[in-house]
């Protein structure tokens, strides 16, 4: 699915514009949506899922204008959405919950629903617990129930809002592998604060800040923003000035900093940037 966003603005009463004249084209595949809190990521996702309408501007998905109610309704038939805060009904089992979502997605054929439910629960590794009440499942398992429900109906567009927040490292890796697999034959929009997840799974990234686009392009391009500006300092006593500190590693001689700057302290060694460096370099440019 090709998504085209054209001069999108969203105002909420009494608050600064959540999205401010945003224009961006998103290709098919895995797309990382990153930015600080309040950047407008969740608002953009809600607009892309047809839940809320923009104040001005348009969104086209495969050429279909989402300002038309009929197009929004049609989109929802081919959409999988995992909101940031989803608490599946805890008295239901994963099997029952997915069946419920299947009905909401208007999969009227019971046999088809059951087949999909079983396949998806196997895919997300919940087959063994599919008949247990959700209240007894771990946070990671609940999150997997969340992704399984998003996949009901075999959606061509999958929108996931911070899916790995609060997951342990093992669950996170499992989850992003699953997302990467899903992104092979559909569009997946992944909003997250965990840049490593984007670096590992998304070939395309869009950075938002204060409701505006700060970067939109290949992930490699964002990493390249920090090329020639990423340094490892020698162990020093005080943090370097005029530099964005990416991380700090204490050593017996002092602290060794990974920084993004044009003016590194003496003795610093240039290093290959990663997505975090690129993102911070972009943030310090604003």
């Amino acid at each position: 699915m090709f998504i085209s966003i054209d001069h999108l603005t969203k105002d909420f009463r009494g608050r600064p514009a959540a999205l401010n004249d945003l224009t961006v084209d998103l290709p098919q595949g895995m797309i990382g949506l990153i930015g600080p809190n309040g950047a407008g990521k969740t608002t953009l996702m809600r607009i892309l899922t047809g839940i809320i309408k923009p104040t001005t501007g348009k969104v086209f998905i495969d050429g279909q204008d989402l300002s038309s109610p009929a197009n929004r309704r049609n989109l929802k038939r081919h959409l999988g959405y995992l909101p940031q805060h989803i608490t599946p009904y805890d008295n239901l089992s994963p099997l029952e919950f997915l069946d419920y979502i299947g009905i909401l997605k208007m999969i009227d054929n019971k046999h088809m629903r059951q087949e999909q439910t079983h396949t998806l629960l196997e895919q997300v590794g919940l087959k063994d617990v599919m008949n247990l009440p959700i209240r007894g499942l771990s946070g990671g398992m609940r999150r997997r129930v969340g992704i399984a429900q998003a996949l009901m109906g075999d959606p061509q567009l999958l929108v996931v809002d911070e899916p790995t927040a609060g997951l342990d490292p093992e669950e996170r890796m499992r989850f992003r592998t699953l997302l990467a697999q899903l992104g092979q034959d559909r569009s997946v929009i992944l909003s997250t604060h965990i840049l490593d997840d984007v670096a590992q799974t998304c070939p395309w990234v869009c950075v938002l800040r204060f409701g505006r686009k700060q970067y939109d392009g290949p992930t490699e391009g964002l990493i390249h923003e920090a090329a020639g500006h990423t340094w490892i300092t020698p162990p020093i006593a005080a943090p370097p000035e005029n530099a964005t500190i990416i991380n700090a590693e204490p050593t017996p001689q002092g602290t060794r900093y990974r920084i993004v700057t044009d003016t590194p302290p003496a003795g610093s060694v240039e290093t290959a940037p990663n997505l975090e460096d690129g993102y911070m370099a972009l943030a310090s440019e604003r």
């Binding site: 909101p83 989803i86 009905i103 909401l104 208007m106």
Partner: protein, 205 residues
């Protein structure tokens, strides 16, 4: 049908509640019929027949609030309004049926208080319809369980102590508030169709 079926399955305990209440009240009436005179039983029935009205409002408030997947429902072609309205209709339908049966039973036993014939059925049926329509409106407006739960009690108090004692004709007594409640429900129905409001209001809580 699958959609109504799954909602029924989720709400089956609350759907059974009015029938249990009806059976209980009829059983009390049946037991007392052999001991007390109808004139003595009717005041008690006047109190007991109000229980389903309040229970209907509280049940409606309960099913219309606190759902954790509003945003998810809005992202589906079904939408949140259809979920809410279906739940309200299921609960209202169950209470209306049960209270209809209650009326028939007590009317046949000549125990229905202030019985003016079959037309008196409008009193309990109308009360439930009025209370549930207004609770629906309040639940949509406030998205708050405590407020929605207080609403049926307030509406019932108004009907019992302010409205009913002065408007004695059973048709006028129920039809006027019924029209107001129906208008309120239509307003609530319209408001419930605003996905942005549903999602943003709940997210802000």
């Amino acid at each position: 049908m699958a959609f109504v079926g799954i909602q029924l399955k989720r709400l089956y305990r609350l759907v059974l509640l009015p029938f249990i209440l009806t059976a209980g009240i009829l059983f009390v009436g049946f037991l007392l019929e052999g001991i007390w005179s109808p004139g003595r039983i009717r005041p008690l029935m006047m109190v007991l027949t109000q229980v389903p009205v309040i229970a209907a409002g509280l049940s409606t408030a309960f099913v219309l609030n606190g759902d954790p997947i509003i945003e998810l429902a809005e992202s589906t072609p079904t939408g949140w309004r259809k979920v809410q309205v279906t739940r309200m209709l299921i609960i209202t339908g169950a209470f209306l049926t049960a209270v209809g049966l209650l009326f028939i039973g007590l009317h046949m036993m000549r125990l229905w208080p202030r019985d003016m014939g079959w037309v008196s059925i409008i009193s309990p049926v109308g009360s439930i319809f009025i209370v549930n329509c207004l609770v629906f409106l309040i639940a949509v407006l406030t998205t708050s369980m405590p407020t929605s739960s207080l609403a049926p009690i307030a509406i019932w108090l108004f009907l019992c102590f302010v409205w009913d004692p002065y408007i004695t004709d059973p048709v006028r007594q129920r039809l006027i508030p019924l029209f107001i409640a129906a208008a309120g429900a239509i307003f609530g129905w319209n408001m419930c169709g605003d996905a942005e409001r549903n999602v943003v209001k709940v997210a802000a809580l």
